[in-house]
């Protein structure tokens, strides 16, 4: 019985942790969207900035991956 409650807590915690990935999704969308709106205003300068775009996406995405990792740890490692 107690074990079942602990498993339930793990699963609920994993679900809650994966909410964080939604935040990362919003962040990546903001980065890419702002890049696109800037690129359409000045297409000539856009090509040089793709590296910056990918760095920005990587930083935003890393935090989502952290929450995914927490969810996985709760489900399989705890």
């Amino acid at each position: 019985m107690e074990g079942d409650i602990a498993v339930m807590g793990q699963m609920i915690g994993a679900g809650l942790a994966s909410i964080g990935m939604g935040g990362a999704g919003i962040g990546v969308g903001l980065v890419a969207g702002n890049f696109l709106s800037g690129a359409l205003r000045n297409p000539a300068a856009a090509g040089e900035q793709t590296a910056t775009l990918f760095i920005g996406i990587a930083f935003a995405e890393a935090l989502g991956i952290f929450s995914f990792l927490v969810a996985l740890l709760l489900m399989f490692a705890v």
Binding site: V7, A51, F54, I55, I57, E61, I65, F68, L69, L72
Partner: protein, 254 residues
Amino acid sequence: MSAESTTEEATSGFNIHPMDQFEVHPLFGDGAIHWYTPTNVTLWLGLTVVAAFLLLVVGSRGRAMVPSRSQSIAEMAYGFVRKMVEDITGKEGLKYFPHIMTVFTFILFANLLGLLPYSFSTTSHIAVTGVLALTVFLSVTVIGFVKNGPSFIKLFWVSSAPMALRPVLFLIELISYFVRPVSHSIRLGGNLMAGHAVVKVFAGFAGALGIGAVIPITAIVAVYGLELLVAFIQAYVFTILTVVYLNDALHPSH
């Protein structure tokens, strides 16, 4: 938990656990794993090196003026990484280009080999990516101190901020510097692991649905295409962050 999974197995008869693919087995027999035991990780790390060797050394062996297909792929990869290093760090960074090229080709081939059916994706393990990220972190820190001496600390001392804020920013910069290898390795490992787990979750649906399995199999094809893209982008992102960190070490002024 166990009762539930046994009934599920009985009804579907085809049960795929999404995390089974990441298990490390010994290659021969199934004894305990020591540091010297050849495992499936050893095999696929070795195959990664072989694949990179085949493309970059054997593939471009002809050194033709009009390159063959494999030679032009190798030249494209070389030019791509070289331009990236030169754009971000300038001429000084080109001294470190061989290491960065090695990191890029190694991760790219490890990611792509991991996509083969029944293969083992080495870069989905934090142990593998962690060593790669720690190598980068340690070498960049050493390069920073050798190149700049004690003034490398200026990287953390934001001289454009107001004086009162500088100690706070110093602390934040210091913490963010030491979190670098963590985020650097988990970004690559987590992305790869998440993608492969998603494919296997859909494969589990396909096993349970019978004739309706067409839908999850279509989804697997789409996710697989996305994974091909992710394999390239994550290799690119890991490399470009390596170059950015190297640039911080070469030009630490804020």
